[in-house]
Symmetry: C2
Subunit: 310 residues, 2 copies
Amino acid sequence: MYTVFAGGVGASRFLQGLCQAVDPEGVTVISNTGDDVEMFGLHVSPDTDIVIYALADAINPETGWGLRGDTFAVVDQLQKFGYERWFNLGDRDLAMAIHRTRLLREGMPMHEVVRGLVKAWGLTCTVLPMSNDPVRTMIAGPGGEIAFQEYMVRLRTEVDVRSIRFDGIERAKPGPGVVEAIGDAEAVFIAPSNPFVSIEPILAVPGVRDALANTQATRVAVSPIIAGQVVKGPAAKMMTSLGYEPSALGVARIYRGLVDVFVLDVQDRELAPAVEALGMKTLVTDTMMTSIERKRELAGDILSTIRAGL
Amino acid sequence: MYTVFAGGVGASRFLQGLCQAVDPEGVTVISNTGDDVEMFGLHVSPDTDIVIYALADAINPETGWGLRGDTFAVVDQLQKFGYERWFNLGDRDLAMAIHRTRLLREGMPMHEVVRGLVKAWGLTCTVLPMSNDPVRTMIAGPGGEIAFQEYMVRLRTEVDVRSIRFDGIERAKPGPGVVEAIGDAEAVFIAPSNPFVSIEPILAVPGVRDALANTQATRVAVSPIIAGQVVKGPAAKMMTSLGYEPSALGVARIYRGLVDVFVLDVQDRELAPAVEALGMKTLVTDTMMTSIERKRELAGDILSTIRAGL
């Protein structure tokens, strides 16, 4: 049984490989809901949906989010009613939001909603929202605090991030099954996602960080930073503006004490000794997931390392 | 100032003519909301939207409802989540429902929602929902009671209608402006809509029937039945199953006491004496609204009759 802390694009690529390397029935995804957003009165869960679409082989490969071949008739029309177009939700993607919103309004808890969506997409893995309670990642910049999707999509990350806050986190409880999935796993993976806005919201749900600190599972993090750059998203930029070194080593420092094995790209092999000095083992391999073969091989490399007892 | 009691398709055609014959700024539509329906968790107002789309010259001319050239990506996708496809809402039509639902959930009263929609579509007439309170037209048949859209769309009117009930009508108040629009008008028109499920719900809102009975306006009804048949919809079939004569005379009997002038098609000219015996004047003209020219002429014929003092 494998459990994966997951954000959006990077996590979905890692999961595509893992679900080919092992039986997906043994994979549990803990999904970040901190970047959920209400758009047009509909509840949109970008990270959860990216993971579902990717595992269903329906993701738009050009963007890394949204559905392949989707159309945009609804958002086109909504502009007529004064909505801004910055959140470009496709029609079929929007159907997902409509369905989710209806179920939530009828009182179904988020984990049951997601369970139904995962099944509707024909997946056999488990996807657990980090919490059924609303948590909203807020980005503080020079102009004040904004919601994550505004920062990410509307302002295209062109903000000097000064701090990050998870609104509602104090009252959030881990989603049903989350703590168990961490405690009972053979291995827990921290996907190559943004440490601050994808992984940290999950860790910040009261009880989750302790569960990860105390599990008997082998804990493996894959660096989202390769050669000082991020494959997708603002992680490197955020590290700099928040005072971290924008490197795999900087990421390793963030996860210190929570991770047994840190996976570095071959381009960062010279960082391995410094990472090991933090008390982690390292696995140096090709982490650029440019093909499904390479995704599967990366998962295989990691699983071999775990099985070899390092 | 002209006020029109309006259902869907027939009313929208009549209104297209009226709004060409007179300045639309002087036209107030009282719209039936009894056939509003929640689909996919969204609030859909079929009659109101048909009127808006028709007046904006955006209606699908083949169906008489929905938007010309609309696509169906969202409802296609929703089937994946187990929804039935009987309510075939187009993508751009659905944008209207998404916007309306958001505003209603935020607490905006229906008449303000509709005012904004009318403006967004560039219309200068006024459209007033009959009530801001929820009223739902329920159809009782041999198999029990069902909501109107189920009868109309899912079962394609293949039900022997035994009775009709307007759920919530006792607690409904006329929408803001409705009573005034009836009392202050120069003429009030009952559009060629279904008397039972389009016009009666409006009349049944407490206070509306009295307002129509007591107004100084000239009250004109246009028969939706021509030569014993209805142009669109189940009105003739309903008349029979509810024990009325399925003819223009049968419709005139329903409106007895509420109408000063009854407009009959030339094909029904032999019914004029019987209608006049009910205490109404008659106008016999071509009421088949097969072209925009004929729609405008019909409105012109009626206005001339009113101005001539009958």
